[in-house]
């Protein structure tokens, strides 16, 4: 079971990382922010999956902080271009 969860975690990380090609291509800042938002959510999923597989303490707390702060990172990005 834990092998399965770790494999899925790796797949999710690589998948959303490929989504970061949007950061390269743009064209606008909106697209770049979307790619980061996707990476944030995918990162949360990978954290939960890998943590559940190996049973590390505090992994859900890391995911919670990430869920809380990723939102504000995206907000800061959306505020950024307007000056």
């Amino acid at each position: 079971m834990s092998e399965f969860l770790l494999t899925v975690a790796a797949l999710v990380v690589v998948t959303v990382a490929i989504g970061l090609l949007r950061v390269l291509r743009g064209p606008g800042d909106a697209d770049r922010i979307m790619a980061v938002q996707l990476l944030g959510t995918g990162g949360i999923a990978a954290l939960l999956l890998a943590g559940s597989a190996t049973g590390e303490a505090g992994r859900v707390d890391v995911a919670l902080i990430l869920a809380l702060l990723a939102a504000f990172a995206s907000i800061a990005f959306t505020k950024a271009p307007s000056g």
Binding site: R32, A35, P81
Partner: protein
Amino acid sequence: MTPASLLDLGIGAVALALAAFAGAARSSFAAIVGFVALGLLLALAWLRLGAPDVALTEVAIGGGLTGLLLIGAERRLRARAMAEASDPVSTRVRVAAAVLSAGVAAGLAAAVLSLPIPAPTLGPAALRELPRTGLDNPVTAALIAFRAFDTLAEKVVLLLALVGVWSLAPDREWGGRPGQRYPLDADGVLAFLVRLLVPVGVVFGGYILWVSAGAPGGAFQGGAILATMWLAARMAGLTDAPRLCASRVRWALAAGPLVFFAAGLAGPLVAGGFLAWPVGFEKPVIVAIEIPLMLSIAAVLGLLLAGPAQRDGAR
């Protein structure tokens, strides 16, 4: 190949790609996006390395607060539309830099590969002394008891950094408010989210400190969360930064280090050494120190993020 090593390889490959992207991206906005994403990958790496405390700090400070700081700077630079274009580096310098960097990286990698076996460790020593601190999390014990002097000095470093930032204010603005005044979010979407999330964040910051006795967490991570919540409330226009000459600002900054230092000075009287905690009362003393410490850390981090005074100066 096992799934675990597949995950490690995936995390590492993506992290390196992001670091290269942060260096090679055309706009600095994209570079900062890459850096923030790198922070996320590093948090995953820290979990894989069995260090959830560091993963929390990386998420909250390494990627989170640093990303917010860089994004704020980029926005202001862009608003000024200053082309600070200096001449691009010549090819010769690029080649030399590449050779140098590759050499340094190869040297470090060789050092990592030739680390002594068995690895030296302070783990057993930390575990042996752990019961005497009344804590269950050895990382918290290292920060607040075993190496308390480092942590105290670090608080002072943070304050010095803040003094450095503040002293960059123009004379006429000294003691005024830092950063820009954000207008109240017109459509209310952001204000709504902030009203909803800030209480959650405050509770969670306190929780992260409280559980740090036995689980991953601590004053730094909690303080970073509180600082982010303050920034969020300012960005939504719900509150404004205080004047930096206000005495409540100064006390908020100094309270944590002062309590820490006072407790340390009491050490020789009650426990036989500077920064030694009295036997039997370690845990209450540590909690009593960590709560003001977290509030001061939140104030320092939040004000570092806000920058020097730039309006409503005293003169």
